[in-house]
Symmetry: C2
Subunit: 368 residues, 2 copies
Amino acid sequence: MSEVHAVRRGLLRDRCAAAGSAAALVSRPANVRYLAGGAPPGAVLLLGPGEDVLLCPRAPAGEPGHGRPDEALRVDVLPTPDGDPVVAAAGLAAASGADSLAVEEHDLTVARHRAMAKAAPGLKLADLGFTVEQQRIVKDEEEIGCLRIAAEITDQALGELLESILVGRTERHLALELERRLVDHGADGPAFATSVATGPNSGQGRHRPSDRRVEEGDFLSVRLGANYHGYRCEIGRTFVIGTAPAPWQIELYDLVFAAQRGGREALAPGAAYRDVDRAARHLLESAGHGEGLQPWTGHGVGLEIEEDPQLAPTAMGKLDACVPVTVGPGVHLPGRGGVRIDDTLVVRPEADGGPELLTMTTKELLAL
Amino acid sequence: MSEVHAVRRGLLRDRCAAAGSAAALVSRPANVRYLAGGAPPGAVLLLGPGEDVLLCPRAPAGEPGHGRPDEALRVDVLPTPDGDPVVAAAGLAAASGADSLAVEEHDLTVARHRAMAKAAPGLKLADLGFTVEQQRIVKDEEEIGCLRIAAEITDQALGELLESILVGRTERHLALELERRLVDHGADGPAFATSVATGPNSGQGRHRPSDRRVEEGDFLSVRLGANYHGYRCEIGRTFVIGTAPAPWQIELYDLVFAAQRGGREALAPGAAYRDVDRAARHLLESAGHGEGLQPWTGHGVGLEIEEDPQLAPTAMGKLDACVPVTVGPGVHLPGRGGVRIDDTLVVRPEADGGPELLTMTTKELLAL
């Protein structure tokens, strides 16, 4: 493990050099963590021309607990007690003889960028762009291992909830209960704000849990995921409450299930992002649900819950092996509710058995 | 309430005009919320020269639940489905005849700023700086009312925890339980990540809850707060577990209590920030705990949990009436643990009874 981060930094340094910068400053927290093994609050990573170094603002004194137990730093640390670490980094890069420093312009604020330019007037500030984000798309087996554990934890938390009484409980309480169970089973925390949606709210992927209580006959849709060692997965399921689903519920469920299966089956190395989206989307459109659909069917996951690639109609690019993505189409009928089914999978070649499903909870329509 | 936001925007517009900009673009979420009554994800607020308008990126279709129940927008909304709303705002400002637009350079990234400049090449982009943050420091009684309710909720959640069995439970579980109780009592959520620290971890304000279990003889320090309608308060208390505290525990507790009281009693309109800090800090320094102290004794609270002012040795400025702040000194002895006592109060003139304490949970050293 200790070598992995050095190799990642070496790769990035090569790419920077090829683009004409001998030094790079990484400030986006997930990128810092990817390259350094951890990202203390406010820390930024300076690569080359000298030794790589993590510049950290002063942690509140006497608070060693500030560090995160799921992180292990793999790089030298330089405290920068007096002011912004990006300014210190600019000075350090200039002092090390760099004439150009590539920065993450999509992360740095104008004010910080200006302060860097002022502190090191001879240093040319270039744009690193999304180089690190691109590097993060294909995962190694250690990263996939973390996602697999995150998915196991998520399945356990969801499975336990399904064994309990649901009718009469509020969306908020169910969401809090799911998050507690994630932590019980070893998650560092939820991967994102857990969504529980009942009745007319169901089928909305990002519904914020309300005080509405679960009722007989409701659709209940949940969306949750664990964060395990920084890696975040996602599952979405829809259930029906009571003895038997209504005909419209069965029909809608079968439709979304078929669309989600279409998306899953389209996952393969070399498949265009937009074709995966299309494989799920066209069924929903043909059934007349085109208008209310989300702009994407799925997205990459990893150190962030929404990473590249985006599986969307206008996305450019093709899947590689070892890219973990979600496939989660849904339909929401205003006033009635809806269905969303969401899995996290890893793209694998057919020779290896095709896409690897990480989130194993059944996708049958359960009546709870 | 509906007038309040228009008045705030009018005040900001006057300040911008005085600084030479007929238009301003507010992008920092807490600032957007302060001025518009709500801040949907990614929304930015354009003030003048025409009508004020909130530009919102396309919400995922069919997901009306995206909005937050504790928010009510008080301004016209313009969806910007194609791309970044700050770019749309630049175009709109230029089209409305503005020659200069003040932006929040401490919030906008370099990439977004560049895209704005490209979209509206004739428009001069000025810096709004921390104008809105400064405007937010003094609260009106409606805002203080929200903080008061947040503090009541926090006291209730903490009070209930103290009635339960603590020995043998982990820091993580206690933290989750506190957060659940905050929501039970009407919070929109926790104001920040709840900290529960036991034994050698105690006394660290930002300790991240671990799997350590509460033991007899431990100090137990907790730090939590409710978010109510966006307003966030903070309380910190330290307890001792078991029948009787040890002499060193009593001594340390009395010291931190005296320091915290010193800070509280120094709160008055006109008091220098640094003098409030000094009133708490000097007692801890005199007792030989100077080295491990936090860089500040307290800070403003409101729509963010850490706002201006900062009560710190080098802070410049003086308190006004109706400024809510925390006062929360602490001492942590490595390997042994420590004490932190933290309240949220509102600065009031002596004629009105002096500082108003919002967090009412007792500060006696309870043996639980």
